[in-house]
Amino acid sequence: MVDVKKLESEILSQLDCVGEPEQLQTLRNTFTGRKGKLTLALRSLGTMDKEERSRLGKELNNLRSLVEDRIGALEKKFREDDRQELIGKDRVDVTLPGKHIVGGGSHPLTQVMREIINIFISFGFVLAEGTDLETDYYNFGALNFPEDHPARDAQDTFYTDITSEKDGTFILRTHTSPVQIHVMQSVRPPIRALMPGRVYRHEAIDSSHSAVFHQVEGLAVDTHITFADLKGILTLFVRRMFGPAIKVRFRPSFFPFTEPSAEIDIQCLLCKGKGCGVCKRTGWLEMLGAGMVHPNVFRAVKYDPQVVSGYAFGMGVERIAMLKFGVNDMRLFFENDMRFLRQF
């Protein structure tokens, strides 16, 4: 006769003691293996009468599934412990520096130009380009610079050896404004044009001057364009470019090709208007030149100044980039030191 109760308590007490996978194997051999006590007991059922068999059979089978479950659970636990141990051993020093990822990028001046261009494109402006070499007429004459006038002094010019009877000596453009003339000659109003480009001034190169630099020029011509529109668009531009809270002021100024002309200052980015070395203690930074297109400029392109009006503006890309990135030497933009370029 098999004593199921005794067998059960024997198995359960041994199961409770299992701490290692090896002990589990021994236990399995002792009870559920081919010659294990539980296996033998089940096998002995065949020799019993029907009633005995059914009673004992049920009890033994219950015991077997209980034991198998317990063994299975223990096996699972041992496997999980092993896995956790392995995972735990798989460590790296996360404080080591990352591998050198080789990247590339646009020049800081491109980045600033891109930002300006994207803002004006969102205002409905289109891009136009001119050439770096220009005639005196496009660079000065059509823009209402009288001949032999001191207004030309501010724009010291590079001359070339290209001369023609019709156009005179070709010069390197001193500003992007000649593109205004080309645009107005090629299309009719309404015009909203943005004209980025490279300009040249005969100036010795130092930390704050460059013989070559970049401007972005804007022009809008239509019926009923006012100075208030100019204030509107440039205020919005400055806020998009430098932040919504930035203060802007418009000061009267002079450019031969606009009237009334204005200089647009923004609150100093560094001292927030308190006054510092960068803003020369004024709290303001000059940012753009602008104004209403002068009637003589319209006359030069055969527009009727009584019918159309317009505004024009221009800004220096290097200056904005220097303020935006805190670069204090303009020459850095043209040296192309990898250590400099990688920072942008």
Partner: protein, 796 residues
């Protein structure tokens, strides 16, 4: 322009502070550059009166002075030889600060206490005299602040004057603007002298266009000597040195009225004649700056009967200048044509206070006032008597009249300014309303000194300035969509930048100028248009003489710079304009160029650093052209003079060359001592743009597996990969998906003049899974063909 605050206040009869004036000037468009308070650097220095001078008991050269400070007597030790009893002197009290920051302390000098210091001119930064104390006028009162007594408690305001506003290049001019802004009344100081005199002097004008008005006044019996203090002080404050009373008066009137004047020694003018004429061949003049100027080129001059005595509007001559012995003078006040003066000033390279104003244009009417004012002051400072005068004024000034449509003002400005406000502003700006009330528009007569006001828009600007830009509304932005003008260039350039950023390139910007020297190491074929540069006729320096025809020189310089900074690699591209001669005109092209050299820095466990080589350069060009979606491109070997003869290639689109690539020529490497190979590519960006498409055909992803077969052959050294690849492709047809070389060997294990090459073929059908048998077939065909065509030997 520098003005004295006190002077401006005197003209306006106000007590405005410097801050008041700065804020007015900024609102109406005169940017203030500097505001300098002269007296700030001198503190606690007073007027002292020397009561007694005794020798120092223990030092021969020193004296002990009793100085009255207005309340008590102070004992001061002094080393100057010129201390005399009864003098008024600058006395720095204990605690005083001198310019330069020196602080005066109570001290004991060789046993005698000294309660301050008597100062020299130099110690006060008021002059050059250092070896004696400064003597003050006896009229000064002991105990009063020195700066106040000397009139140095002044502020100098420096503002920017735009070229259109010569009328504010004077104290009166700027005072007039302030008066308008602050609603102040404004009157010019009265003059006593009359223009006409009992007899005439001799003045002849040759060209009335060049000289529109000439007023000469002769004063006889003057005494040249020192100038009254108030004039000297004001000249000094504005940065002009005192010379003598006559010259000082003309400079004073210049600062006051903005009109340049000149005085000649009347007796030194041959035959006492003045001729305003253009210079003649061979003439020259020794000017007041001590230099001689050749006047051979037609330059407007003032001459006496035979010789030039001044360059009109620019500078006077030394020979006829007023000197200590002068007794009779001729005072010139004239209007010279701005362009004529400007040309002279540019040609001779002289710029003076006078030429600066004439170039910008002075008021033709106002010069009369300046002339009379100067005569008044000369008579006051130097005595004498006005004896003769002559005025030549053939075409009297015709005032400008402008019609202003008030509606137009608001249309341009976007404002609602009333007609009355407009009229008021213009009226305050000395414009005379010519039609009272009736019609819609206003007709104004412009004052003679406002030569910048010519048409309606000029008056609109005046109104805008004086209502203040801050009062003009900021209109909401109205957009209109323009889509017919967008050039593709920007989009395309941005795409190039994207692609090259992805290929680990940084963008470079170089100046567009190059030196002629670059062609000694950058070689081009004879007749290559890149050697024919446009030159700059006034370059900044030798390195800046030519406009670039290639981006190479700039990028080489960038490599040189990066190597000098020990940067491990340079990997730069530039999108830049190059310039060619095109007959009488120029041609500009946009180029895309890249340069690369060095190696990526070796990482911790990386076996070796990756050094850029020719295939790196090829890879970039291939990647770029693929990403830009340019059709039908190829790279083929080609000799290019500035590149290494064995490592150069041409880039083609549709069989047309669009660029070049390769390793720089050994000459360039040697010239710059490069010790790693430098690779370069340059393409015509315009041509690339024609091929550029943003839309690209999609190729379906493979559905069936591929079979790979590797090969290893030994080839004759002359066989190129391009030849091998072409032969291999003949056998597989569309089944060959890819062919990639993965090893190349040259060395001891194989015969000289041969090389080992391994490559792998990827075979795939788009319709079914290939069988090994099919792959074997192709493999055998490839082996046989390469053996047959090239005599290649299969490696085992």
């Amino acid at each position: 322009m520098k003005v004295s605050l006190k002077w401006v206040n005197e003209i306006l009869r106000t007590e405005l502070s410097a801050d008041d004036i700065v804020s007015v000037l900024e609102t109406i468009g005169f940017q203030v550059e500097q505001c300098e308070k002269k007296s700030e650097s001198i503190r606690n220095v007073i007027v002292g009166e020397i009561k007694e001078v005794l020798p120092h008991p223990r030092a021969q050269r020193l004296s002990v002075c009793t100085v009255f400070d207005g309340q008590t007597d102070k004992s001061v030790v002094c080393g100057a030889p010129n201390v005399v009893q009864g003098l008024k002197v600058p006395l720095a009290l204990v605690g005083a600060v001198l310019p330069g920051g020196k602080v005066i302390r109570k001290s004991t000098i060789r046993g005698v206490d000294s309660e301050g210091m008597i100062c020299s001119e130099k110690e006060l930064f008021m002059g050059d005299v250092a070896d004696g104390i400064m003597h003050l006028p006896s009229s000064m009162i002991a105990g009063e602040d020195l700066c106040a007594s000397l009139g140095l408690d002044d502020t100098i305001i420096e503002y920017e004057v735009t070229p259109n506003r010569p009328d504010v290049l004077s104290h009166i001019g700027i005072a007039r603007e302030i008066a308008v802004a602050r609603h102040l009344s404004f009157l010019l100081p009265k003059t006593k002298t009359r223009l006409a005199a009992t007899s005439e002097c001799k003045v002849f004008i040759e060209d009335q266009k060049a000289c529109g008005r000439y007023c000469a006044q002769v004063i006889e019996g003057i005494k040249v000597g020192p100038t009254p203090r108030f004039i000297v002080q004001r000249l000094n404050a504005c940065g002009i040195r005192s010379i003598n009373n006559i010259v000082d008066v003309t400079n004073y009137v210049l600062l006051e009225t903005g009109h340049p004047l000149h005085s000649f020694d009347y007796d030194l003018l041959e035959n006492q004649e003045i001729h305003v004429r253009f210079s003649r061949q061979g003439e020259s003049i020794k000017a007041l700056d001590g230099k001689s100027y050749d006047l051979s080129e037609k330059i407007l001059i003032i001459a006496d009967r035979s010789k030039p005595v001044a360059i009109a509007g620019v500078i006077g001559g030394e020979d006829t200048a007023v000197s200590a012995s002068t007794t009779n003078i001729l005072l010139e006040a004239a209007y010279f044509n701005p362009r004529v003066v400007r040309r002279a000033s540019r040609k001779l390279d002289i710029s003076t206070e006078s030429s600066y104003r004439f170039e910008r244009g002075i008021g033709m009417v106002g010069l009369e006032y300046a002339s009379l004012r100067a005569v008044d002051l000369i008579l006051m400072c130097a005595g004498g008597e006005k004896t003769k005068s002559k005025e030549v004024y053939p075409k009297p000034f015709v005032p400008v009249v402008i019609e202003l449509n008030p509606k137009r003002v608001n249309q341009i400005l976007g404002t609602n300014i009333t007609k009355n406000t407009m009229a008021d502003i213009l009226n305050r700006l000395n414009m005379e309303l010519k039609n009272k009330g009736v019609i819609e528009s206003l007709i104004f007569q412009v004052p003679s000194f406002r030569i910048d006001l010519k048409e309606e828009i000029d008056l609109i600007e005046e109104i805008a300035r004086h209502v203040g830009y801050h009062t003009i509304p900021t209109a909401p932005v109205k957009g209109i969509i323009m889509n017919d003008m967008l050039p593709e260039t920007w989009t395309f350039q941005e795409e190039i930048r994207n692609v090259l950023s992805g290929a680990a390139f940084y963008e470079a910007y170089n100046y567009g100028f190059i030196s002629p020297d670059v062609f000694t190491y950058i070689h081009f074929e004879p007749g290559d248009k890149r050697k024919e540069c446009i030159s700059v006729t006034n370059p900044l320096s030798q390195e800046f003489t030519l406009l670039r025809t290639t981006l190479l020189p700039g990028l080489i310089q960038n490599v040189v710079m990066n190597i000098s900074k020990n940067n491990p690699y340079t990997r730069l591209y530039e999108l830049g304009t190059v310039f060619f001669k095109n007959g009488n005109s120029s041609l500009e092209e946009k180029k895309l160029a890249g340069i690369l050299t060095g190696s990526y820095p070796k990482d911790l466990w990386m076996e070796k650093s990756l050094t850029f080589d020719f295939r790196e350069c090829t890879g970039i060009v291939e990647y770029l052209l693929t990403r830009l979606n340019v059709p039908n491109w190829k790279i083929a070997p080609h000799r290019i003079p500035y590149l290494h003869p064995g490592q150069s290639a041409c880039i083609y689109i549709d069989d047309k060359p669009v660029g070049e690539m390769g390793c720089l020529h050994p000459d360039i490497h040697e010239k710059f001592k490069f010790n790693t190979q430098v690779y370069y590519f340059e393409m015509n960006a315009g041509t690339l743009m024609h091929g550029f498409r943003t839309s690209r055909p999609y190729k379906p992803l493979p559905r069936y597996p591929a079979i790979k077969r590797d090969f290893s052959f030994i080839f004759d050294a002359r066989i190129t990969w391009d030849q091998i690849m072409k032969e291999v492709l003949k056998d597989g047809g569309s089944i060959i998906e890819g062919i990639v070389p993965f090893d190349r060997y040259e060395g001891e294990k194989i015969r000289k003049d041969t090389y080992g090459l391994s490559f792998s073929l990827t075979l795939r059908s788009t319709e079914r899974t290939l069988t090994d048998k099919e792959a074997d077939e192709i493999q055998n065909k490839v082996i046989n063909r390469l053996k047959e065509i090239f005599g290649a030997q299969l490696r085992t």
